[in-house]
Symmetry: C2
Subunit: 209 residues, 2 copies
């Protein structure tokens, strides 16, 4: 059965996936400096052909992905109604998805085909409907769930996420948006399948029971 998987979702030691005041110049907000240091180090390892715990997890995240789902905040910094349709994501003209990407938003707009096979679709449908569309688009492969944290939390709470690769960065924030929060009973449906530290972070794999 194809799965819904989230990867590289990084939180502080005190549980925050974003800090305060997310904006164009600070996509993850303030107070979370160093949150993605592990990822930068892992990307360098990948670029230079070195093995590493982080690099290995990043590669696993890219395997067998046929479609992507993300929240509005991951797609861009614009809040409320779109002023125009000029914003087409953070990633330039050839985004690294190369699949259909379903963006949850209260303000649907026409789909945007990009170079390299990525097409952004905008939807205000319920998560169950969006997930069904994504599985159809994935054609038998898995669907990857991007962020932000509130989107991951929504799918976790609904028990729809099959696998979550979570990374704990060695920083504390004190404030922001928590990832594993307000999920009470849903927590009972998950267990930790892996927990491994590299020099730069702790990697955890949460899976459904």
């Amino acid at each position: 059965m194809p799965k819904l998987r989230a990867h590289n979702i990084t939180i502080t030691l005190d549980g925050y996936a974003t800090g305060t005041d997310q904006r164009l110049e600070a996509p993850f907000g303030d107070g979370v400096d160093g949150l993605h240091d592990w990822m930068n180090a892992a990307m360098r390892d990948l670029d230079e052909g070195r093995a590493g715990v982080g690099a290995d997890y990043i590669e696993r995240g890219d395997e067998n992905v046929g479609a992507t789902i993300m929240g509005r905040n991951m797609f861009g910094p614009v809040r409320g109604p779109w002023q125009d349709e000029s914003w087409t994501g953070w990633w330039g003209e050839n985004p690294p998805y190369h699949t259909d990407v379903f963006v949850h938003t209260h303000y649907p707009r026409p789909s945007v085909p990009m170079k390299g096979g990525t097409t952004f679709h905008f939807t205000d449908e319920p998560v169950e409907t969006v997930l069904r569309r994504a599985f159809e688009a994935a054609g038998g492969k898995d669907v990857r769930l991007g962020g932000g944290p509130s989107t991951v939390q929504t799918y976790l709470r609904a028990g729809l996420l099959d696998e979550l690769h979570l990374v704990i960065a060695p920083i504390v924030a004190g404030r922001g948006v928590r990832l594993l929060d307000n999920w009470q009973d849903a927590a009972d449906g998950y267990r930790v399948a892996e927990q491994i530290s590299s020099g730069t972070a702790t990697h955890v794999r949460l899976v459904r029971r």
Copy 2:
């Protein structure tokens, strides 16, 4: 300078130090099965003379401790006024502290000397006062802060804790009492000095900047 240190404070992956409904038969409450599996394994390692990450941290926690502070919930399951003075802790007649132990409680009672050098003192004084008394009792050694989580949180929020050895157990709880919570600005005063996983848990050392 002598320090205030907390050790072996264990939380779930989603940040809970206790589950729900703490009571005599379940000192850490419900929903946190496996929270201290790492500690049981480490104690076996110590008993049998084996080296191990957990065993090493437990030994470090016991070094150079001249006095102890703990919260009422760590001392016992009794809530509200003491019915009588028969409860003298979870640990039998020779508790593993062997120092003066200051117990925060809204209901002070006479000090209780135990075998092995442990004496329990009960106080409703402010944390600053209790800490001063504990440093005096420690005679130049460090003071160790026990739990529960709300007591550790109080000292963290006040910026009085110098060092926190935190352990992340590979379980999720969904509900309970969080440790690193409601500490906003205080978080800015701490940094992660170590983050290491063993097979059974991730050990973190938080220190003051």
